[in-house]
Every structure is written in structure tokens, then in C-alpha cells.
């Protein structure tokens, strides 16, 4: 076979280029650790995500000192949780699955990008060095509302990040002279201990109590308010723990009616 010299040179240069490309990609995988989305996860039943321990309640969980896992469900035409909140300086492993059709989970302007196929769980581990807010888009056509499918990913300052959940149970209505109780449950979903102060403000008066919540635990603080001091009428209260707040109204009445408390 008769090949022109220049063409031989070109052929060799082309082969070198190709081998070079394969080498750089291999370096990216092995050297830089850019792993591909793969088949490491077991399949799931897309119709039974409600019973799945990871996806029944889509959320972020802390699994190590700076390590988190995010369980994300994509469905027409939304992502949950939304927004996804993680701290800067962390390593987050995303587990993403779909409830219905093929979607994608793509964080705009980054290389966080995966297809989301019903029945399969896409997983990828991402390092977040800096705080920032990103948009999450579905970049696979998933039906007529595809263009409305979006979410948010918030990477917050490490010292501003917590996974505290506040729930308050309080009496609505008490008789004058009785004690009103306000139970404040502080759940700490992080691994390390949480030291904080639970503050109750009612009628301009502030009560505070320091609490220490162990990792993964819930501590309940109970405030008792003497209604004699408050007097009859409506009293607005606010419970604050760090940045979380809950509020309500306590009504103090002369005598508690048996029924119909709604109608004045």
C-alpha cells in the first residue's frame, strides 16, 4: 500500500493525539480522582420510594466530621429537598433517584451533573470548598413542564451551618392562675454536640436556658409561665434557638369554656 510520506507523518501525529487524549482522561480518573457515575448502588423501586429509608424523607445527613450524604428525589417537575443545604469545607455524597421519568440533577456552572433514571440511584461525591448559592436544573426533557424544574443548592459558611430542628408544643389557652407550659424540643442532626441557648420571649419578658444536645439527639426544655403575672388576654410568645424561631399566642382566660373556644 502506497502512503505518501506527509500522510504517514499525519497518521502518526493523529495516533499520538488520540493516545494523548486517552492518557489525560485516565489521569483525570486515576490521578485527580474524577470518578464516573457508575453501577455501585443497588436498584430501587421508583413506585415505592415512600418506604425507602433513604428516599422516603429526602434530606441531608451528616455521616462524618466533614462528611455528609444528600438523598435527593427528582420528579416532574421538582427536586426535593429544596433547597439542599450543606456546609463549606465538606465532602458531600449525593444519592439521586427519580420517582417517574428520566431527569437530570445538574448544578449550573459546575461539573456536578448526573442523569437520574427511575430505578437507578446515581451517586457522586463532591467537595465544597467555598460557600455559594447554586441553581439546580433538570437538563433532560421530562415532560411539558420541564423548563420549570429547578432547585437550589446552598453551600453555607461552616460556622453558620447546623442541622438543628426546633419544634415547640405550647398551651393555647389557660385559666388565669394556672401555669402555662411551653415545651421546646431541639433536635441536633449533626454528629457533634450542640451547645446553645433556648430563649422564650413572652410579653416583653425573656427567659433563657442553656442546653447541650448530643449528636443525633433531641433535648426538650420546658418553660413554665405563671399566668397570674400575665393577666387576661392574648400574649404573643417567641421561641428562639440560634437562627430558628417559632411563635404563637397564649390566651389567658378567666374561666375555661368547655367548647366553642374559637368563637370569642
Amino acid at each position: 500500500m502506497n502512503i505518501h510520506t506527509y500522510e504517514k507523518v499525519w497518521l502518526i501525529a493523529a495516533l499520538v493525539l488520540i493516545v494523548g487524549f486517552i492518557a489525560t482522561v485516565t489521569y483525570g480518573s486515576v490521578g485527580l480522582g474524577i470518578a464516573m457515575i457508575d453501577d455501585s448502588e443497588e436498584t430501587v423501586e421508583p413506585g415505592e420510594l415512600g418506604e425507602d429509608e433513604r428516599f422516603a424523607d429526602p434530606r441531608v445527613e451528616q455521616v462524618g466530621e466533614n462528611e455528609y450524604e444528600a438523598y435527593v428525589v427528582a420528579q416532574t417537575f421538582m427536586f426535593s429537598p429544596d433547597p439542599i443545604e450543606v456546609p463549606a469545607g465538606s465532602e458531600v455524597t449525593f444519592y439521586v433517584t427519580s420517582r417517574d421519568v428520566i431527569h437530570s440533577f445538574s448544578v449550573a456552572g459546575t461539573n456536578i451533573n448526573t442523569m437520574v433514571i427511575p430505578g437507578e440511584v446515581a451517586t457522586m461525591t463532591v467537595e465544597f470548598d467555598e460557600p455559594g448559592e447554586y441553581g439546580v436544573v433538570c437538563n433532560e426533557y421530562c415532560g411539558s413542564g420541564h423548563h420549570n424544574m429547578e432547585g437550589q443548592l446552598h453551600v453555607v459558611e461552616e460556622d453558620e451551618f447546623d442541622m438543628t430542628e426546633l419544634s415547640v408544643e405550647a398551651d393555647d389557652e389557660v385559666e388565669t392562675g394556672d401555669e402555662a407550659t411551653i415545651d421546646v424540643a431541639v433536635e441536633n442532626r449533626m454528629l457533634e454536640e450542640l451547645e446553645t441557648t433556648v430563649t422564650l420571649e413572652i410579653d416583653g419578658e425573656t427567659f433563657g436556658e442553656d442546653v447541650t444536645v448530643a449528636g443525633g439527639e433531641t433535648e426538650t426544655t420546658t418553660f413554665t409561665v405563671d399566668t397570674a403575672d400575665l393577666g387576661e388576654g392574648d400574649h404573643d410568645w417567641t421561641v428562639t434557638v440560634d437562627d430558628y424561631e417559632d411563635s404563637g399566642t397564649l390566651t389567658v382566660v378567666d374561666e375555661l369554656e368547655e367548647e366553642d373556644d374559637d368563637d370569642e
Binding site: M1, V107, G109, E133, S144
Partner: protein, 595 residues
């Protein structure tokens, strides 16, 4: 009638008629696809939105299917028929058979086309807004899938037709080498037979029975993988005819000869063996496929660069040879001697140049881990508007200016308009595709009606999103104008009278001919066997693994028929019609149905 010329129609009048029919079918699809293209451009960029965003996806499906299935494939069966009959110098074996496959293709695409277009009207619940890739569980009307099957079977029979011609010719010329154009047709068709097995399996075993309700569920990853088994090689089915034009026609219009016949054969053999075992590179980001399989697909893909790089050399070398025959001199001075006045030449040269740019963005796509940044973004749309949208489409439009007189016997209406048309396409595509690539790098997704979101904004590195949108809209409008010029020429030529002063039906000779090519290159059985073995290597384990994980028919999953939308829409429409308003065919309504 006295004929003075040696045009194709003079030698093969009956075949010329089939080719004309194929061309006109192709141009009709191009016109429809072009209209939907400009609607999309203006809608997406927000300059002019007169359709509901939910209908955007019907427009997008039509744009994709009409352009990459009907426009390209009807055109290529035309030029393949030309290539076989001209290079073997014999008519088709049985004209009824030839019309038969053309008819089957036409019926098939009509069924699919009607199913897609019915998505615009609420008068029927037929719809197939599933896009060109029809990923399950999105479900189209059975007519859509059935039409695609008939169309593909039509192309299979077309291949049979060309093989029959070759076998008959071989019987009479046992010791001759396969003429280059026929060799290219046969290798392309062999690749196509292997490639279409994937889509045939996806449709016949799963999607069609599922859309008819015969089976309850499908495995979305399996049908998707079978689609891409076909979905990547189909791009070579579009590209190889364009390559053929660069090999057999471009050197001739440049005024010279093809640099090397043996290398041309090597290139087509490489395409035959490497096109199919690469499809998984479209699934780099799919969960459920192991990294190793993706790596194999990537390696094959990278080696598939080789035939394209070899083609770049041969094409440029042949052009230079032509230019020097025309009196060109100097290292670069020969460029001036090329026939830039000829739209056939200029169109192909500009198409080739853009294909080089497309090669670069393609290498980025092929790079497994860089792909994370661009996968399914607008970048990819920019990429394939350079490949199929320019390297193929512009080449096809340029060679139309040569073929149309050959198969109609009429002189081209206007060479100047034709030159303006190909140059305008180049400029328009430059604006559009550049902005698409850049927008993709910012994370702007493809396939979306309104790439603007409530919760965040894309941040441009250079300029602004608004400028990118403007650039895309400008490009889209220039491309539309270019299409208008193209159709003016096709119609103008059709209205011309019969000319007896047409160039002869010839293709390029070679500097280094088939006698320099080892005989083994013509051993089609060997190359087909190697191609099949490579496909088995690349696909057996991924497919087995996918079936093993998700089951042959996948998990319990409701089909997502896009036609149900129109049923809901119908209810809404009736309601709204009563008050005389059809506005906002309500997403809330859809959401309820879907959940």
C-alpha cells in the same frame, strides 16, 4: 429527443426519477424542520413566543426528527443510488423494488410525522412529543414507533438494492476492485445494518408493545442503552455520505483528483468497525453502567477520531492538488486559485472547516470526565449543529447545486444566490453555535423551552446571557434566510426548462488508485465480522448487567404518555373555548394528572 449532454438523467432517466423523489422528500423535511427551527430559536431566546411553552417540545421533536431522520436519510439514499449506479455504470436491478423501498420510507416517515404534528391539536389524542431520543417512560403514540420501523426497514431494503447491483456487477467483473463510491455505500450500509439492530430491538421488543399496552413496563435504562447503540452510529450514517462527497466530488470541483483511494477505503473500513461500539459515550453520566464499560466506549470513540483526521488530510491535500492544477502556487497562495465562485466547492469547503471546529468540541464531549461539565448542556446543541447541522447539512445543500441539474436535466437557477446561501449558512451557524457552546459552559441546559429560572441566574464569563441569546437569535434568523435562498434555487431550477448544456456525470479520479490498495480492504465479510465482534465486546456485558440489575421489563413504573396531556388539554380547551380564550393551556392541570 436529441440530448447533447452526458448528465446523469441522460444515462439513467428512471433512476434519476427515484433520486428526484428522494431529494424532494428530503427538501420538504428540511423546509418543515427549518420552520420549526426558527420558531424554537425565537422562543427559547425569548424574542418572540407565540406558542405555549408546553408545545415547544412538540416543535422540538418535529425539528429533530424531520431534520436528522427525514432530511438527511432521504438525501443520502438519493446520492447513494447515484453513487452505485454511476460507479458501477449500471441501472438498478429492479426498478419496482427501488420504488418499493422509497415508498416504504415515505409511508413510515409520514406516519411518524403525523403522530408528532398531531401533538399540536387537541382534536385527537395522538401525540409523540417524546423528542428524537424517545426515552421511556415518556411514551409516544404507537403510530410514531411504527412509522420509524417502516422507515428503517425501507433503508434496509435500499441497502439490499445496492448490494444486488454490486453482486450483479461482480458477476460480470469478477477481477475488478469495487469502485470507490460503491465501496463507500456498501461499508456505510453494513455499519447501518449493525447499528439499527439496537433501535429495532428497542422499538419492536419493548416500546411498540408497551405503547400498545401489550406489556406493562419497560426498563428505562435498557431501552435508552439500545437507543444509543443506534444513536451514535446514526451520526456516522449522516456523516459518511458527506465524507463520500468530500472524497469523490470535492476533488473534482476543486479541479483535481482524490489524493488517495486506499486511504479513503481505510477510512470507511474504520467507520464500519468503530462506529457502533461507542454509543455508551452518550451515557457517561448514566447510573447503572459501570465505569469500565464507559472507559471502553471512550477508547473506541477516541480511535474513531482517526478516520476523521485522515479525512482532513486527504480532503485538504486533494483541494491543494486541484488548486495547483488550476495554476495555484506558493505555500498558501494556492488557496486563491480554488474555485470560490462555485457554490458546490465553497459550500463543501466551509462545511469541512466547520467540521474541524466540531471535532474539537466533540473531543471535549468524548473526554469522559470533562463531559461532566457539558453533558446535556447547550454546548452539545452547539456541537451537533456544527456536525449534522453544518458538516452534513451544508455539504448536502452544496452538492444539491451539482446534483439537481444532474437529476432534473435543468440548469441551476442561480449560482450567485447559491454562493450567497452557503456563505450565509456559515456565518449564521458561526453566531448560533458559538453562543450555544458558550452558554453550555455556564450550565444552560439543552432541550428546554425557557432557559430562565426563578431561583437563580446563569453567570456569563464573557459578555452576558442576554448577548448570548441575541447571538443565537441572530444566527437562527440568518440560517432561516439561507434556507429561503436554498428553496428559491430548488424551485427556480424546477421551473427552468430542460438544458442540454450540463456538465457530464463524473466523479473525481485518483492520484493513487485502487491498485495501491491491498485486496484485503475489499473483503467486506472480514470487516463486518470484526465490527460484530467489537460490538459484542462492547455491548454484551453492559446489556447483561442492565438486564440483571433492572430486569428485562424494568421496575413497576407508570408510562408517561405525552398523549394524555392532550386529553387533559382537550378538557381545558373546551372550557376555555366557551369563554373564547385559549390562553395558558394550564400547567397546574397537567401537574395534577402527572402526580
Amino acid at each position: 429527443m436529441m440530448t447533447m449532454s452526458n448528465a446523469y438523467i441522460d444515462d439513467f432517466p428512471a433512476e434519476a426519477k427515484v433520486i428526484r423523489a428522494a431529494f424532494y422528500s428530503s427538501f420538504f423535511a428540511l423546509a418543515l424542520g427549518g420552520v420549526f427551527g426558527v420558531i424554537q430559536t425565537l422562543h427559547r431566546t425569548g424574542y418572540y413566543r407565540f406558542i405555549d411553552s408546553a408545545d415547544y417540545y412538540t416543535v422540538l421533536t418535529a425539528h429533530g426528527v424531520f431534520l436528522v431522520i427525514s432530511f438527511t436519510i432521504f438525501f443520502l439514499v438519493g446520492i447513494f443510488t447515484w453513487a452505485v449506479t454511476t460507479s458501477l455504470d449500471r441501472g438498478v436491478e429492479d426498478l419496482r423494488f427501488t420504488w418499493g423501498w422509497y415508498g416504504l420510507m415515505a409511508i413510515g416517515i409520514t406516519l411518524s410525522g403525523v403522530a408528532i404534528l398531531a401533538g399540536f391539536t387537541d382534536a385527537t389524542d395522538i401525540s409523540a412529543s417524546v423528542l428524537f431520543t424517545f426515552y421511556a417512560p415518556l411514551q409516544g403514540h404507537p403510530m410514531f414507533y411504527l412509522g420509524l420501523v417502516l422507515f428503517v426497514v425501507g433503508t434496509w431494503l435500499a441497502g439490499v438494492d445496492w448490494f444486488r447491483s454490486w453482486w450483479a456487477w461482480k458477476g460480470e467483473n469478477p477481477d475488478e476492485r469495487i469502485p470507490l463510491p460503491t465501496f463507500m455505500v456498501l461499508t456505510t450500509m453494513l455499519m447501518w445494518y449493525i447499528a439499527t439492530l439496537g433501535v429495532a430491538a428497542a422499538i419492536l421488543l419493548f416500546l411498540l408493545p408497551w405503547s400498545l399496552g401489550w406489556i406493562e413496563t419497560v426498563n428505562p435504562l435498557l431501552t435508552r442503552t439500545l437507543f444509543w447503540f443506534f444513536g451514535h452510529p446514526v451520526v456516522y450514517f449522516w456523516l459518511m455520505p458527506a465524507y463520500m462527497m468530500w472524497y469523490v466530488l470535492l476533488p473534482k470541483v476543486s479541479g483535481g483528483k482524490l489524493f488517495s483511494d486506499p486511504l479513503a477505503r481505510v477510512v470507511f473500513v474504520l467507520f464500519l468497525i468503530l462506529s457502533v461500539p461507542t454509543g455508551i459515550h452518550h451515557q457517561y453520566l448514566d447510573p447503572g453502567i459501570a465505569e469500565g464499560f464507559k472507559f471502553i466506549a471512550m477508547t473506541n470513540t477516541m480511535f474513531l477520531l482517526l478516520p476523521s483526521l485522515l479525512t482532513a488530510f486527504t480532503v485538504v491535500a486533494s483541494m491543494e492538488h486541484g488548486a495547483r492544477q488550476r495554476g495555484g502556487t506558493g505555500y498558501f497562495g494556492w488557496l486563491k486559485a480554488l474555485p470560490w465562485r462555485d457554490p458546490v466547492f465553497t459550500g463543501m469547503a466551509l462545511a469541512g472547516l466547520m467540521f474541524a471546529a466540531a471535532g474539537f468540541s466533540g473531543m471535549v464531549n468524548a473526554g469522559m470526565n470533562i463531559n461532566y461539565l457539558v453533558h446535556n448542556t447547550f454546548w452539545v446543541v452547539g456541537h451537533f449543529h456544527l456536525t449534522v447541522g453544518t458538516a452534513v447539512a451544508l455539504t448536502f445543500m452544496a452538492v444539491t447545486y451539482w446534483f439537481l441539474p444532474q437529476v432534473t436535466g435543468k440548469a441551476l437557477w442561480s449560482r450567485s444566490v447559491a454562493l450567497g446561501q452557503v456563505v450565509l449558512w456559515f456565518v449564521g451557524m458561526t453566531f448560533m453555535s458559538n453562543a450555544m457552546h458558550r452558554a453550555g459552559l455556564l450550565g444552560v441546559p439543552r432541550r428546554t423551552a425557557e432557559p430562565q429560572y426563578d431561583g437563580f441566574e446563569f453567570e456569563a464569563a464573557v459578555g452576558s446571557i442576554g448577548e448570548l441569546q441575541a447571538q443565537i437569535a441572530l444566527g437562527g434568523i440568518l440560517l432561516t434566510l439561507s434556507l429561503v435562498l436554498f428553496f428559491a434555487n430548488v424551485i427556480g431550477t424546477g421551473l427552468n426548462g430542460r438544458s442540454d448544456d450540463l456538465p457530464a456525470n463524473e466523479y473525481a479520479g485518483t492520484l493513487s488508485g485502487p491498485e495501491d490498495a491491498p485486496l484485503v480492504l475489499d473483503n467486506l465479510k472480514l470487516w463486518t465480522a470484526i465490527a460484530i465482534v467489537l460490538v459484542i465486546f462492547a455491548y454484551t456485558f453492559p446489556l447483561l448487567s442492565i438486564v440483571d440489575r433492572g430486569g428485562l421489563f424494568g421496575p413497576e413504573l407508570n408510562p408517561f404518555p405525552v398523549s394524555i396531556e392532550s386529553v387533559t388539554l382537550l378538557a381545558f380547551a373546551v372550557e376555555h373555548l366557551a369563554v373564547g380564550a385559549l390562553e395558558s393551556l394550564s400547567l397546574p392541570g397537567l401537574l395534577e394528572v402527572i402526580r
